[in-house]
């Protein structure tokens, strides 16, 4: 969760994405993200990464093995006690699910964030519109369902059971878009009065999910 507790990141990497994968006991490792980033910077693009933790560990161990050069680098990151409460996220049926190219979503967020702090996403039968209203003026982007047979990654799918209209902070969305490199398509799931789900799918059904609380009440 972020500092203001309005956004949440959840990433699942299934065991199938690892080779090999071994886990004797469920265990929670509290790792400082900036420490992890520091260590991961030491990893070369083609290195094989091994993550290890013992029973009742003090550190998590990362090993980078270079396949081409006989080079093995090993790092230990000290663990921390995570006092943040863990929220259980129930499986929710969303009223609207939009699948679109990640680049498209990134572009929308970037363009609109130049105008305003927040965007209202309105899903209706004929399409989805992203609207914002700022000091210098207003902006609106309309998307309709679109099927590209040659390049399915460019598809825009809108799955709707009832119209939804919600407002979100653009700065958070722009940050979410930094995950665009992970996949070609992004899924936005919305229901009235519940947090927006932005999901970047990864191979083996793994995913990176962002949740963002909607702005309710005093909208601009």
């Amino acid at each position: 969760m972020d500092n203001s507790h309005v956004a949440l990141v959840s990433m699942l990497i299934r065991s199938g994405s690892f080779s090999p994968y071994r886990c004797d006991r469920n265990i929670a490792l509290g790792i400082n993200l900036s420490s992890l980033t520091k260590v991961l910077r030491a990893c070369q693009p083609d290195d094989v990464l091994t993550l290890k933790a013992e029973d009742a560990p003090d550190v998590v161990n990362l090993v980078f093995e270079s396949k081409t050069m006989d080079r093995i680098s090993e790092y230990d990151i000290k663990l921390m006690d995570i006092d943040q409460e863990h929220l259980g996220i129930p499986e929710t049926e969303y009223a609207a699910t939009i699948t679109m190219p990640t680049t498209e979503f990134q572009r929308i967020c970037r363009d609109l964030s130049a105008l305003s702090e927040s965007v209202s996403i309105e899903c209706a039968k004929d399409g989805v519109s992203f609207k914002c209203n700022g000091d210098i003026g207003s902006g609106s982007i309309q998307l309709r369902s679109h099927t590209d047979i040659d390049k399915p990654q460019n598809n825009v799918e809108i799955d709707l059971s009832e119209p939804v209209s919600l407002t979100f902070s653009l700065k958070y969305l722009v940050n979410f878009c930094k995950a665009s490199g992970l996949s070609e398509q992004v899924k936005l799931c919305l229901s009235n009065e519940v947090p927006l789900l932005v999901e970047y799918g990864m191979p083996e059904n793994s995913y990176l999910r962002f949740y963002l609380a909607p702005k309710i009440g005093d909208e601009e």
Partner: protein, 440 residues
């Protein structure tokens, strides 16, 4: 569903492993089973009629599991588990069938799960339990008013009270006569009986129960205590406070004064010249700088533990354990008062020396505390406990401040920018999602 599950190789050796651990295959893991197998150690030669049943616990009447065997009687389960700091797992493998059994018998169906890995290495050991303890809740008076005029009741009436709280017992007892006779025998052991015609009537007799308990406790003490129990229960209780001896010259006179006021001084030449503490190590002496300090004789004697005390303490510890783990709470007070003033019919060990000795130790401990705080007041600026608490508090504050500063410094750019975002009108996520149950 992960795609990999459907394409699992059929000949993988770990295929049937339903535990939550996989080996080196990078394929998806099968989910951990919701009811993992548990490991039990059961007594030898249990009859096929032995059952694990839920009976109400004698002390708090919560439903608990017991192993009931018509021939061997009642057994309670003791859970033995690895400490949290050193978690362990168990690999459970069924024995491979021996070759000759394969020849003679028709091929038995392959067991579904050839191996299991359990996450919680709990071992449940069935240990024999005196049926007396199970009977007691029925015999014990429900209220103090009832206790005054307790009635004699037939065995079946008492059993009915038991059945009301432990319905499993009814089925088992009605099916197996030995269990019933066992219960009746144990009930007779702790009750006054009156024969009314063909029937015998029972009423709880506290003196009988007490002598039974004392016998049990004596048997527990007959073998030496394990060292862990000894260090936990016996040693700390008998520990006499140690007063520090090394002091600066300035504080010596005060210490000497305090100790001399507290003990009635009768000079003993043997100890006055010593500069070390006596064997019992209770009073401070520093005869090099002053000859005032003098431990007196009776004080010394009461401080060394007489050899009769530890066995008594052990016995008392055992009795306390029996009371707290098997005897209904309503019986504790009457039993304890009976223990302190036993009727002549019951042979109860005399705990008098123990209580006086423990009281003496307690007194010494409090005296030592006073003495220490006095000397601390002089040698340091603040009181002993006060001091430590305050230091800890200050350190805690300092640590927090430093941590916060450090956090601010190491904050990433993204986090810093998000700090500026206007989150008004946005509810916290905790109002949408409930707290997850903590995973074990």
């Amino acid at each position: 569903m992960p795609r990999t599950r459907s394409t699992k190789p059929a000949n993988s050796p770990t295929e049937d492993d339903t535990s939550n651990i996989d080996t080196s295959t990078p394929k998806a893991l099968s989910p951990s089973v919701s009811t993992p197998p548990k490991v039990f150690v059961l007594p030898k030669n249990t009859s096929p009629d032995a059952r694990i049943a839920t009976l109400s616990h004698p002390v708090n009447s919560t439903p608990s599991r017991y192993l009931i065997d018509p021939d061997l009687g009642f057994h309670e389960f003791t859970r033995i588990t690895a400490p949290k700091s050193t978690p362990r797992s168990w690999l459970l493998v069924s024995d491979p069938p021996s070759p000759d059994s394969l020849d003679t018998t028709t091929p038995s169906p392959e067991p579904l799960n050839p191996a299991f890995i359990t996450q919680n290495p709990d071992l449940f050991i069935a240990t024999p339990l005196d049926a007396l303890f199970l009977v007691l809740p029925a015999l014990a008076p429900k209220s103090s008013r009832q206790a005054e005029k307790q009635l004699f009741l037939s065995f079946d009436d008492h059993l009915d009270t038991l059945y009301a709280s432990s319905p499993h017992l009814r089925t088992l007892v009605s099916r197996h006569e030995p269990l019933k006779t066992r219960l009746e025998r144990r009930m007779a052991a702790c009750s006054d009986t009156v024969s009314a015609g063909p029937e015998t009537m029972y009423r709880l007799s506290l003196p009988k129960l007490l002598s039974l308990l004392v016998k049990k406790a004596e048997r527990m003490c007959s073998s030496p205590f394990p060292s862990s129990l000894e260090t936990r229960f016996i040693k700390p209780a008998l520990e006499v406070p140690v007063l520090s001896i090394k002091r600066e010259e300035s504080s010596v006179s005060i210490v000497a004064e305090t100790s001399s006021t507290q003990v009635s001084s009768s000079e003993t030449t043997t100890t006055a010249t010593q500069s070390t503490v006596t064997e019992s190590q209770t009073t401070t002496m520093d005869s090099q700088s002053t000859t005032l300090t003098t431990p007196d004789d009776d004080n010394l004697q009461s401080l060394s533990t007489p050899p009769t005390i530890p066995p008594l303490l052990r016995l008392q510890t055992c009795l306390n354990y029996l009371l707290s783990s098997y005897i209904p709470t309503s019986l504790h007070t009457p039993l304890r008062s009976l223990l302190s003033s036993p009727p002549p019919s019951v042979s109860v060990p005399n705990f008098e020396p123990l209580t006086t000795h423990l009281a003496a130790i307690a007194k010494l401990k409090s005296e030592a505390l006073i003495l220490r705080s006095i000397s601390d007041n002089i040698s340091r600026k603040r009181g002993f406990e006060d001091d430590e608490e305050k230091i800890a508090e200050r350190e805690e504050k300092k640590r927090k401040r430093e941590e916060e500063e450090k956090k601010k410094k190491t904050e990433t750019r993204g986090v810093k920018q998000l700090r500026k975002v206007d989150t008004s009108g946005m509810k916290k996520l905790s109002s949408f999602f409930t707290r997850a149950a903590k995973k074990a």
